[in-house]
Symmetry: C4
Subunit: 189 residues, 4 copies
């Protein structure tokens, strides 16, 4: 089985995840500037999630590109990744509506940990299937560093959220910046 | 007519079904841990449905892969399957919000019965069209056992839900486990 | 420009239209059988719309299949069709929630008129572009009869809705049955 | 990396954006003609947004068609465009529910400015990558005029909204008409 339908399904799910989040930008009850400004945290929360999910899409894209043959563990690990990503709209709304309350930021961080771990697991399964190709193995090993760094930062953000919310948000945003670094901006994560 | 657009449309519908269920994870009114924990049944209900729909996607994928030529009955049986699958978000929310009340679990089981029967019907139509190829016929016959078992367990879960909810949920989850059995984990259902 | 992306976009939009309608099946406030039965009209309304949109998808599929080259009027007529189809979830919810009140049935019929006319217009534009091919011209002419019949029945359903709702619903359902007639069940509309 | 998956993802996101807007057409509480007519501004707002997003889809389509090779800046500029387009459902609902209040029209115009600028940026990145091909360069230069005109009209609509709402709406609608002009109706923007 080829990668076509796996890509199509993942693209579909990720496209829906990234778009339905806008439904949580609820229209304010009155048309005053104050009511609109009150949406600010929800909007920022949406923007951050849009960016994070888009980065997953780009990296997913590059990673699947290296696969010739889809086997069962890849399918299930991919579904596992999509499951955790699908929780993003919920934690985005949760963090936005409660204006970055410590618990909501911690939960947001926790979902990022799970998503990044799932992405790492999917890469692990793909790398194992390509064990014969030294070039691919080196590529996957290099990419693993980035995922491990991201997981550590996300993990750290959970306890930090209860102490200093802005620092926790910084820790959650940092990996996104890391993926834009000049050397290989769209390299598989 | 080839299978491309049938696959694309089915992927689209299944991707939307699996993703919009997260909209039923409503953000709690306050940011307390208690309010968050109160979402537990809804979350579990979402997780179960995500898994079941994903299994349908994998099996649908494998089954359509065996088709060379789409004819009208396949199209309509496929639409029939998508219809019953599309009820999953509703029964998921129903079971989650009413915290697995007997009626809600029975209804969830009933929708599973209908989905599995529709899947069986689609396979039946596809198998009949491939009647000339003994290898495909054997493959479809083998796969039919799994579907029939699943239908029986789902059917049983309906009356059981009114006696013992946990047992009913076990009966609904069992077929999912069955599809992960080591021998042929992603074999067409 | 080929038909690939036109098909992909149309499939996407139709898949979303057909699936988001289930969001209007609102979970009842209590888990009693009475509350569930109260959803009956909404469910029937959903079922009817699912069937009608599915028929559009099948026919759209067959019609686009005959196109080699997409030109601007086809693109815009296709977008026009998608616009009217996209109103289906609204009128479905309207008819379901107001339990087939005359005005809601008439509005449902009116949206069907617009959708069928848009489909006819799209076919007209496609047929004109294929004017050189006598076989295609015959095929399109044959198919036009079905669309014209459907438009007439839908048009009739609007005034009839204010006199006899069941008759109006029958008029709306009739064209769907027509497309299942044995001779050429999935023939382009 | 080819353009296939970029197109598929963009199609998915645009298809969802264009379709979920209909969820903001809320079913009125009673089935009276008055309650239905009260939806008129929301409906017009939906119609305008459907048209604008559809025009983006057509132009996006044509523009990506000219790309042979996707590189990182294109990916990110494309994601940036999708982000601003994804705000359309929000401003559509905002303008519809507050019946074209000045602030809501200005915000609608502002989102159009951002979307058009993002589209221009994406074209800029694509044009730079095709700098070697004089024919493509001419094509992109020609198309840039349309985008710049659109941005100016959208920009103007923001202050005008606080003075004369109908004029602001006219300024927002004008670029849509411009894209239908007879000479090259589906030419890249």
């Amino acid at each position: 089985m080829g990668t076509n339908r796996l890509e199509a399904f993942s693209d579909g799910v990720i496209a829906i995840i990234i778009t339905i989040m806008v439904l949580d930008l609820k229209v304010p009850a009155d048309a005053s500037p104050a009511a609109l400004l009150h949406l600010w945290p929800t909007f920022l929360s949406y923007m951050l999630s849009f960016l994070l999910v888009a980065i997953y899409w780009v990296n997913h894209h590059h990673m699947i590109h290296l696969v010739c043959h889809v086997h069962a563990p890849m399918l299930w690990m991919n579904i596992n990744l999509l499951f955790w990503l699908s929780l993003t709209p919920f934690v985005t709304a949760y963090m936005g509506e409660h204006r970055a309350a410590p618990l909501s930021v911690a939960l947001y961080g926790a979902v990022q940990v799970m998503s990044a771990c799932s992405f790492g697991l999917l890469r692990h399964v793909i790398a194992r299937a390509a064990a014969g190709d030294p070039k691919l193995v080196a590529l996957h090993r290099h990419a693993r560093h980035k995922v491990v760094t991201a997981i550590c930062l996300y993990l750290l953000s959970i306890p930090v959220a209860f102490v200093a919310v802005p620092l926790a948000l910084l820790l959650i945003t940092a990996p996104a910046v890391m993926y834009f670094l000049p050397d290989r901006p769209t390299e598989p994560a």
